[in-house]
Amino acid sequence: MTVRIDSRFATANETADVLGVSRQRVKQLKKLIYASMKARRASGISWTAPAGSRKAPQVACARIAAKKSRMMSPGSLRTKPSRKSNAPRRTLKRGKKSKTAR
């Protein structure tokens, strides 16, 4: 049974009102979260932008472009596992036969 939600999207302030969290605490939490996002952005880690921010798409696009250029470079083509030799690694001693040859 799937329930159709007809109530509107509760904002952070409305959620705080229901739970009895003060507006000052909501501001503190927002400050905490945005400071953490800013620190991660400064260190180059991808982050999730809050609503209204315009910089996140640029950061995300830059990361995607950098990854793409790395993949396209000849140096990134390594030996795939399927290209590795399936020859037996174990070498037999002189005069010895393999199990299949017996």
Binding site: F9, T15, S22, K30, S36
Partner: protein
């Protein structure tokens, strides 16, 4: 604090409060927040006096309730007793459903394993539980099976994103609350508000 009377999207979370359930606890908060709903839990009730009355009042205020019975098992420490709070609260909801919100309250049962609920609680035969396999993505999947928001249905990826942000900010939130456990009133409320802040940025 005055409550907005038009807001009707509160979900009563009947879930275990133990260390092994932490991931799913955060997943439930993240998933419910992604739908624009407000999670409620008995964690908010601080005092032990008239606790049952307060639980009933909280259930009465909620439009929906989710009951996770995946950890109704024997305690490892002596005396080895099973945790009955979750089935008991489910019973309270089922019994009071007719009087709760004019019979419009809807309850859902979640489990980690198929068919286990039919064995442990055969009275629920005919009620299909939502099986999350004990996984975070399973909780998100089942929440998408339970709820549908026509104008803005969140995806599992969006819920995962909210969850990851909550995880990243969890140490700071715990430090701020001077707590080392998720299962405290203040931490639960802070996490619910933080999840909504992330949901506003990711889903909307």
């Amino acid at each position: 604090m005055a409550r907005n009377r038009k807001l009707r999207g509160e979900v009563f979370l009947n879930i275990p409060y133990d260390d092994k359930f932490e991931n799913l606890f955060l997943a439930y908060i993240a998933g419910i927040s992604a739908f624009g709903l407000v999670p409620r839990a008995t964690l908010e009730i601080r005092s032990s006096s008239r606790r049952l009355e307060k639980i009933l009042r909280m259930i009465g205020a909620c439009r929906y309730s989710i009951h996770d019975l995946s950890r109704v098992e024997l305690d490892r420490r002596a005396p080895r007793t099973p945790r009955f709070n979750m089935p008991f609260e489910l019973g309270l909801v089922v019994a009071s459903r007719r009087r709760t919100r004019g019979g419009k309250h809807k309850w859902f049962v979640c489990e980690a394993r198929h068919l286990r609920l039919l064995k442990s609680l055969s009275d629920l035969n005919g009620t299909d539980p939502y099986i999350h396999d004990g996984k975070i993505v399973g909780v998100f999947r089942e929440l998408c099976n339970i709820f549908r928001k026509p104008d803005r249905q969140p995806t599992v990826q969006q819920m995962s994103q909210i969850y990851r942000e909550m995880r990243r900010n969890l140490p700071a939130i715990l430090r701020n609350s001077a707590s080392d456990s998720l299962y405290k009133a203040r931490v639960f409320k802070d996490l619910s508000v933080a999840a909504k802040i992330f949901a506003e940025g990711i889903v909307l």
